[in-house]
């Protein structure tokens, strides 16, 4: 059953809203969404669960690409999207409750965008 952790499907940006709508219509729950900054690109993950089953959709986009919010389809997405926006600087458009960079009270702007020195 733990193979759900590898069930990661890459989708193009234009399919994000369609996929989110389909998952919502099936009664699946948005369990998490997050961003990563790998090889100068953003990787966005959206995980939907149905009981113990889970599918994660992955978007790989350039840093200047605008991403539509899915918070009008799945309301809980607004917290994850505010987080992606503030920590990574992902350009997300149309968040239902947009905190305008005040969700996290942090001093550094988009602190997760810059790679740390190893």
């Amino acid at each position: 059953m733990e193979n759900y952790g590898r069930n990661i499907v890459e989708i193009p940006l234009e399919k994000l809203v369609i996929v989110a709508s389909e998952e919502r219509d099936k009664g699946h729950r948005l369990a998490q969404a997050c961003a990563s900054y790998v090889n100068d690109k953003y990787e966005l993950l959206y995980s939907f669960v149905d009981g113990y089953e889970m599918v994660t959709y992955k978007l790989i986009i350039d840093t200047d690409t605008e991403v539509p919010s899915i918070s009008r389809i799945c309301f809980p997405a607004f917290t994850y999207e505010n987080e992606m926006k503030e920590l990574f600087g992902v350009k997300i458009k149309g968040i239902v409750t947009d905190y305008n960079d005040k969700f996290y009270r942090i001093q550094t702007k988009t602190p997760f965008l810059k790679k740390g020195d190893k």
Binding site: G5, R6, G27, Q32, Y52, F75, T79, K102, R105, G116
Partner: protein, 365 residues
């Protein structure tokens, strides 16, 4: 013709410092008279950016950062990270380590739920009940200290298993402790579930229906108290696939149901620890040697005391991991909390905030 007078709206700030909040979270409560009509939460007062440290710590050292995300959920944060990396590296840890992880997970659940019950009792002014919950919790913490060396930050997990084993005497002491805890819990549970003053504060407050719980992404006891039968321990991580237990749910969907589910889970944890101690195999090894560095990605899900937690690890084949992401249960339960606050009387706000069992340290990892 009489003029319709719209009630005035007032915004009342709740937190970040409030008697029911041990940690800082701020909620702007939009009020019409005594009724909450909207709630806007904001977090970030103690955001530490621990996930970012994964770029500077090698993947073995990162275990100690992961378990410092939060004191209460410490053991399982370390374990969640280790299990994710172990999946990427295709590492099968020894059975004895799996059972010990299961036992310590349930000890974590016991002390977390007892902490919450105490805070809830304190929230509605039942100080004797608060004292009793925390007194019992001390026994659990003493046993965690005896077996791991730390009361909250145990530092026994490592990628590939555990750092230390326990002696047969320790296992015996653990079993005796849970039996004693179960005995002392019964009158406490009876008070929580049957006392008039407790029922009058919790019954019918903060309703979250099954459909709303799914739509709003609720998790853990918050979700199970809305009649959804999902408990990630049933996915069989650690040694849970060899443990016989039922998922505790309630269809009442209110604050009382959330309390009842957590109380049921306390007794369930006692039973799981007993079963695990009876079934733990004798072996000399509690870890395996690792070869190479992790490469790949994995999303691990665990049932933390507060609910479903996610651990995403993306590794590139070096000793440094590209991304470590933790989605904590409190973060997921923020949207359901906003929903339950809408329409609630102002006096119920502190208790409703408590019924999600907020852990801000986890949320602000």
């Amino acid at each position: 013709m009489s003029e319709i007078i719209k009630p005035k709206r007032t915004i009342i700030p709740f937190g970040p410092q409030h008697p029911v909040l041990p940690e800082p979270i701020h909620i702007d409560l939009v009020m019409e008279d005594e009724t909450v009509v909207d709630a806007i939460p904001s977090v970030g007062f103690i955001h530490r950016g621990l996930e970012k440290l994964v770029e500077k710590k090698d993947y073995n050292e990162m275990v100690y950062v992961a378990e410092r995300i939060c004191g209460i959920c410490s053991f399982m944060h370390g374990m969640g990270y280790c299990e994710a990396v172990e999946h990427i590296m295709d590492v099968e840890i020894p059975d004895r380590a799996k059972y010990l992880r299961t036992i310590w997970c349930e000890f974590s659940r016991l002390h977390s739920h007892l902490l919450w019950l105490g805070l809830l009792a304190d929230g509605f002014g039942f100080e004797a009940l608060f004292n009793e919950c925390w007194r019992i919790r001390e026994k659990v913490l003493d046993m965690v200290e005896l077996t791991t060396g730390g009361r909250l930050i145990s530092s026994v997990n490592k990628v590939g298993g555990l750092i230390k084993d326990v002696t047969p005497e320790m296992l015996k002491a653990m079993k005796e402790t849970v039996i004693q805890v179960e005995k002392e819990l019964k009158p406490v549970a009876n008070t929580f579930l049957n006392d008039y003053s407790v029922k009058s504060r919790l019954c019918g407050s903060g309703i979250l229906t099954k459909e709303e719980a799914i739509a709003l992404g609720a998790c853990g006891p918050m979700m199970r108290a809305s009649g959804i039968e999902v408990d990630l321990r049933k996915t069989g991580y650690a040694a849970y696939d060899n443990i016989d237990f039922d998922i505790i749910t309630s269809n009442d969907c209110d604050g009382y149901a959330r309390c009842a589910v957590r109380i049921g889970e306390l007794f369930q944890s006692v039973e799981i620890v007993r079963q695990a101690i009876d079934k733990i195999p004798d072996s000399e090894e509690v870890s395996v040697k690792l070869k190479g560095n992790p490469k790949g990605e994995f999303l691990m899900r665990l049932e933390q005391p507060r609910g479903e937690a996610f651990y995403y690890v993306e590794a590139n084949g070096t000793k440094f991991i590209d991304r470590f992401r933790v989605r904590t249960p409190t973060f997921a339960n923020l949207a359901p909390l906003i929903h339950t606050l809408k329409g609630a009387p102002f006096a119920d706000v502190p208790l409703l905030v408590l019924t999600i069992d907020p852990c801000i340290s986890c949320t602000e990892r």
